[in-house]
Symmetry: C2
Subunit: 352 residues, 2 copies
């Protein structure tokens, strides 16, 4: 299947199931609406999976790893080699997302969609088109065909994981320079002010920070991405990692699996995916509000609010890993909490 | 021991241990500070427990249950009897906090500090002084001696649980009318505007909502609590539930156990506890920002930010139950994540 077929196959979550889930929620022995977002989660997971009692017990974070040509311009405080090393470290179990996903009982699915190195490490799935994108300040990051291919890679990863029984996914990434490309993608989609979108990433000097903003502006000017075409934006100012994650969100919608969005880079990918196909939005769940300033623009554009506010700015999928527990807690409560009959008192009535 | 002795025994978290924890954090293979609040949690839990590798593996929510005389004034959409029924339901495992605490692997410790009924149910600990407070619109809720006794009850509960091996606590409550008393307590402490503090609780009509605000104003006018005396405020416009929870926070500080604060009612108790002894603040961890409007004033006054924003307004300890996972995840990551040597790359250097 190709991207066009996948996009045609995407439907909205099942409205009938969502109504039935709401009825069940209404019978819980609590004031109506008092569980806030937990109730929204329940309705959405039911509608997405098409089940009135869905399981969310097998979880995985898909981590898209790639290098970005723009790092040649010095937009990051880290050497490019860190992309390769951290990607390998995911398979050695020694990174932060390993620890947080283990704590959540989630697996990792690490995909090399363009690391700038020859990697032959068990546990890193080789889907590399080439070693890193081109420099977005000098032209597009990749061809349109490459962008489509990498998006399909993301969709296929979801299909594979669903076939292996995974029913709740999260996104993560590793790619030095990808706060720069994400800023360009978010700016292209939202029309937001570069000055407000761009952050210091892993830690930049003031000069390097000013320079990074100039780099993003240059990338947008040189490439002139079409603000109504998500694929064009990903190809021109994105990266293989962001495009792969956009595919994961699209894949979630096609394969009807809820996907937890990590922080800023995942957010840029989510925005692009929703621009490509608006129905994808209903399959995306927020996790944390990253400290990266552009995250606010992402949430505004998606019309969502993060569940967690922990001032994290590490990426890797660490926020998504923490978000799993909220989805699981919501579903566990829905499955189990007593109804009014059992609870021995009249239904609370919202009198307003 | 009495309250005065407990208060004298409270010290700040161990600064030396916090510094050592920070050093360990600094050796993690991540950009410094990129785990945000998770790093703050690690330092604080280490400092509180006095251990460089503390365990947070045995968790309990202390639920203080009591009735409030002010419910005679019609400030709640629920009948008073719900306090008793839900308290009993905690022991039957059918409430929302049962489900969320089971999901978190936490136990419940349900204490009757003044339910307006004779209750003889295994699992409800009888610490009742009397059946509900007096109506705060007509005079104080309780005597100063009663307030002190109930605060001591909360401290003693923490001592008992610590002796049984619990190393992470949360707060919860059940008491119809307690958003009214909490609003009065928070207003008395912060001097905040009643119009902004008072919310609709479980769901009030517009008329009942206006009336509730008048009730809070009347309670403050009639009783004139001393804004510098937390015990006076709890006695005059609080409740047995809030006073018991204030004791839990003080007990956390005395017994050096981290305590996760639930929503608005727990927040009112936390503010009172910190007013009684400012060092208590260092032992309190936020969980969620409840939808109850006064919660914002609580966080402002405590100088904290909630970890979770889920628009919940159920109470019972449901927010604290969700917060456990964040503390555990932070500690699990700290215990395990690779140091720079293992990770095969140079330390990230924040260049700012």
């Amino acid at each position: 299947m190709n991207l066009r077929d996948y996009l045609k196959g995407i439907k909205l979550p099942d409205d009938e199931i969502m109504k039935r889930a709401q009825e069940k929620l209404g019978n819980m022995a609590i004031p109506i609406g008092s569980l806030g977002e937990l109730e929204v989660i329940v309705r959405r997971v039911c509608g997405i999976t098409g089940s009135i009692l869905p399981s969310v017990d097998k979880k995985c974070i898909i981590i898209m790893c790639a290098d970005n040509g723009v790092t040649d311009k010095g937009v990051s405080s880290c050497p490019k080699d860190v992309t390769k090393q951290v990607s390998i470290n995911f398979t050695r179990g020694i990174t932060t997302v390993n620890s947080l996903s283990d704590h959540a009982g989630a697996d990792l699915h690490v995909v090399d969609v363009g690391i700038d190195a020859d990697i032959d490490v068990p546990g890193i799935i080789n889907k590399k088109l080439r070693k890193g994108t081109w420099d977005i300040t000098e032209g597009p990051a990749m061809t349109r065909e490459e962008a489509v291919r990498i998006i399909e890679t993301g969709i296929e990863a979801v299909g594979e994981l669903k076939a292996r029984g995974y029913n709740l996914l999260g996104t993560g990434e590793m790619g030095i320079g990808n706060t720069t490309t994400s800023s360009a993608v978010v700016a292209a989609i939202t029309g937001g002010d570069i000055e407000e979108l761009v952050g210091r990433g892993a830690g930049l000097t003031k000069e390097a920070f000013e320079y990074k903003k100039e780099v993003v502006k240059t990338a947008l000017q040189i490439n002139g991405p079409d603000s109504s075409d998500g694929i064009d934006i990903l190809a021109k100012v994105g990266g293989f990692d962001i495009a792969g994650l956009a595919g994961v969100f699209i894949g979630g919608a096609y394969h009807r699996v809820p996907v937890l969005m990590d922080g800023f880079i995942s957010g840029a990918a989510a925005l692009a995916a929703v621009l490509i196909e608006p129905k994808v939005k209903d399959y995306i769940f927020p996790s944390h509000g990253s400290a990266e300033p552009g995250t606010r623009a992402v949430f505004r554009a998606l019309g969502m609010k993060p569940y967690l506010d922990l001032g994290m700015r590490l990426g890797e999928g660490t926020g998504a890993a923490l978000g799993f527990n909220i989805i699981e807690a919501a579903m566990a409560t829905y499955r189990r909490v007593g109804t009014f009959d059992e609870a021995n008192f009249d239904k609370y009535v919202p009198l307003d």
